[in-house]
């Protein structure tokens, strides 16, 4: 079990200001929870841009190359199909399946990587951080053990920056 301090905010502008001010005071945030993607939150929290698009690029390249090679291998190497004496390696008519396979592998791999990387798996019992985090409130979660600043000080800091409520919350990990 781990004890976290939650600061509850009612709107995004106060949230962003609070995050900037708290981080300015050398307090490390554990996470921030919001009901919709807040514009400018990544910058305020200092999050690096996601590298998942690179996954899509690599998977797409591999998908396209294997689809093209597979068509070549089946219709030229394994069983050369003579269609009206036309060349077996008919590149133009292989393009569509190459393209579709590229999109399919890029999309599926990227979304799969997203779920794995974010540790999102099917579960019946979700550890909900705050009942209104997916509804209409914004939550800053701070792990007091990971910070040199005392817990009580963190709480006042959250309050001073406009938190409508400050709570303790126990989470599994």
């Amino acid at each position: 079990m781990k004890k976290l301090i939650l600061g509850v905010y009612d709107d995004e502008k106060t949230l962003i200001k609070a995050i900037k001010s708290i981080r300015g005071n050398e307090v490390k945030l554990r996470d921030v929870f919001s009901p919709y993607p807040v514009h400018g939150l990544d910058d305020a929290m200092g999050l690096k841009p996601s590298r998942l698009p690179i996954v899509a690029f690599i998977a797409g390249t591999i998908g396209a190359a294997s689809a093209l090679y597979f068509q070549y291998w089946t219709l030229v190497v394994d069983w050369a199909l003579n269609i009206g004496g036309k060349p077996g390696f008919a590149l133009p008519s292989f393009i569509i399946i190459t393209f579709e396979t590229m999109i399919l592998s890029a999309a599926l791999t990227m979304v799969g990587a997203f779920f794995v990387r974010s540790k999102l798996f099917p579960t019946f019992n979700t550890d909900v951080i705050h009942p209104r985090a997916t509804n209409d409130q914004f939550i800053i979660a701070i792990d007091p053990q990971k910070n040199s600043v005392e817990g009580d000080k963190i709480k006042t800091m959250l309050k001073d920056n406009g938190a409508s409520d400050v709570q303790d919350k126990e989470v599994a990990k």
Binding site: P35, L41, E100, I103, M110, V111, S118, D136
Partner: protein, 454 residues
């Protein structure tokens, strides 16, 4: 980076007081018994679906002879319905992907319903070629796998391209749809009180917490998925058009087919989105989130794509004349004055003439008129595919001439596909997040901040 808000543009949500109100408005109807309108659509839909299942079962057991297809017209209702439904399926991904890339925020409150429509329309579309196989228990022969026959599928065939294009389109649309719903399932999970519903929403939400890191990744991959889906949308109907265009049939063998089909697909898809959104708005009283402005925007896209389709029809005739190809000319003369000319003129009326009425602001802001005109487009676009397929009734030699009359089985299957589509759609709006809750909250928050002047 703050976004520029034009004072000319109308607000995208109306009179919404708080973010919590959005959750309540969208999630509460899912916990209530549906109203009379829902049943008024659901019961006929299920009846049509049962009829369709019965007809299809009989047809699979007996054979393709139960259809009106013959040696001259080898493709009948099955391909017409297939192209019709795939076309409808285009607006969903167009709205969710292309409009996302162009940052058209008005898509936020209609994209989920449009994507849902795509998924179910593609399911309906996929059924027709499969039942047309005749021996559908061999449908897996379409997949390239190593067999005892040693022969592979023919990758040069547009029909096989279709398998890949439709398969990819369905899968990617499904993933895009689900990915967008994960946060909304999270909201529903935390909002629903019933135990079983809560567990099901929890399972579907994959433990979504609303963490900033997750949102950041979610946004990044949504953008990339939109980028991947955009060329995909354009490619799918191009491939469908290649089924026709690569055949050496006068009236089909033209290079205009891919753009012409794509424009037609978006045209018919938007018409179907309009029809369905008007129904959804009626069932749930969503005037706050689906405003007249949304309908106006879609009506404008209908004008554009309808005009593109009209231009394509004209170009075909111009090319028939300009090419001086007698076969091509006879095919098109036959279209306007042959035995199926009635279908051609229904098509022109519904696709080229009536959508132009949307130029009048009075008409494109009147819900009943939009509803009627959108149904006209649906009818017109079905007839467009019918007209194209019926080119076959006058082949190049008189010995191949022959007429096509659909049978009762084909009609029942066609109506059954509407039954399937509506049943799935109505069940979804009964249990699923039919409006993208988090995206509407984004709009609402901007609106509220604007009002507060921060």
């Amino acid at each position: 980076m703050s976004e520029y808000v034009s004072s000319v543009r109308q607000p995208l949500v109306k009179d919404v007081g708080s973010l919590g109100e959005v959750t309540e408005a969208i999630a509460n109807p899912l916990n209530r018994k549906p109203n009379i309108y829902w049943y008024a659509f659901f019961i006929p839909a299920v009846i049509a679906l049962i009829g369709g299942i019965a007809a299809t079962s009989y047809q699979i057991k007996t054979g393709i002879g139960t259809w009106g297809n013959n040696n001259s017209v080898g493709w009948g209702f099955a391909i017409v319905n297939f192209v019709f439904w795939v076309g409808i399926g285009h607006a969903g991904t167009f709205i969710s992907a292309v409009l996302l890339l162009f940052r058209q925020k008005w898509r936020n409150s209609i994209n989920r319903a449009a994507e849902t429509m795509t998924i179910f329309a593609v399911i309906c579309a996929g059924l027709f070629p499969v039942i047309h196989l005749g021996r559908i228990w061999f449908a897996y022969w379409l997949i390239p796998y190593p067999t005892g026959r040693h022969l592979w599928v023919n990758f040069n065939s547009p029909l096989l391209w279709d398998v890949f294009a439709i398969g990819t389109y369905f899968t990617v649309s499904l993933v895009f749809w689900y990915l967008g719903m994960v946060p909304d399932f999270g909201t529903l999970r935390d909002h629903t009180k019933t135990f079983i519903k809560k567990k099901i929403y929890a399972l579907l939400s994959m433990g979504w917490s609303g963490s900033a890191k997750h949102w950041s990744r979610h946004e990044a991959i949504s953008m990339v998925l939109a980028g991947l889906a955009t060329p995909l949308v354009l490619s799918v109907h191009s491939v469908v058009s290649a089924d026709f265009a690569t055949a050496n049939v006068p009236g089909w063998h033209t290079t205009i087919f891919p753009p012409y089909f794509v424009a037609g697909a978006i045209f018919s898809g938007f018409a179907m989105v309009l029809t369905l959104m008007i129904i959804v708005r009626k069932i749930y009283n969503f005037e706050k989130y689906i405003t007249l402005y949304h309908f106006e925007q879609m009506a404008k896209i209908i004008i554009l794509t309808g005009s593109l389709v009209g231009l394509a029809y004209t170009t075909e005739f111009f090319m028939a004349w300009y090419s001086q190809n007698p076969l091509e000319q006879s095919a098109f003369l036959n279209r306007v004055s042959g035995p199926y000319a009635w279908a051609y003129w229904i098509m022109v009326t519904c696709n080229v003439i009536t959508p132009q009425l949307f130029w009048f602001k009075k008409i494109r802001t009147s819900i009943p008129l939009i509803f009627i005109l959108s149904i006209f487009v649906n009818i017109g676009m079905w007839f467009e595919r019918f007209v194209i397929v019926m080119t076959l009734h006058r082949a190049q030699n008189p010995d191949g001439f022959g007429m096509y009359t659909p049978t009762g089985i084909e009609f029942t299957e066609f109506i059954g596909s509407f039954g399937l589509f509506l049943t799935l759609f109505l069940l979804f709006i009964r249990f699923g997040p039919y409006i993208a809750i988090s995206e509407v909250k984004d709009l609402t928050a901007k609106k509220l901040n604007e009002e507060k002047g921060v």
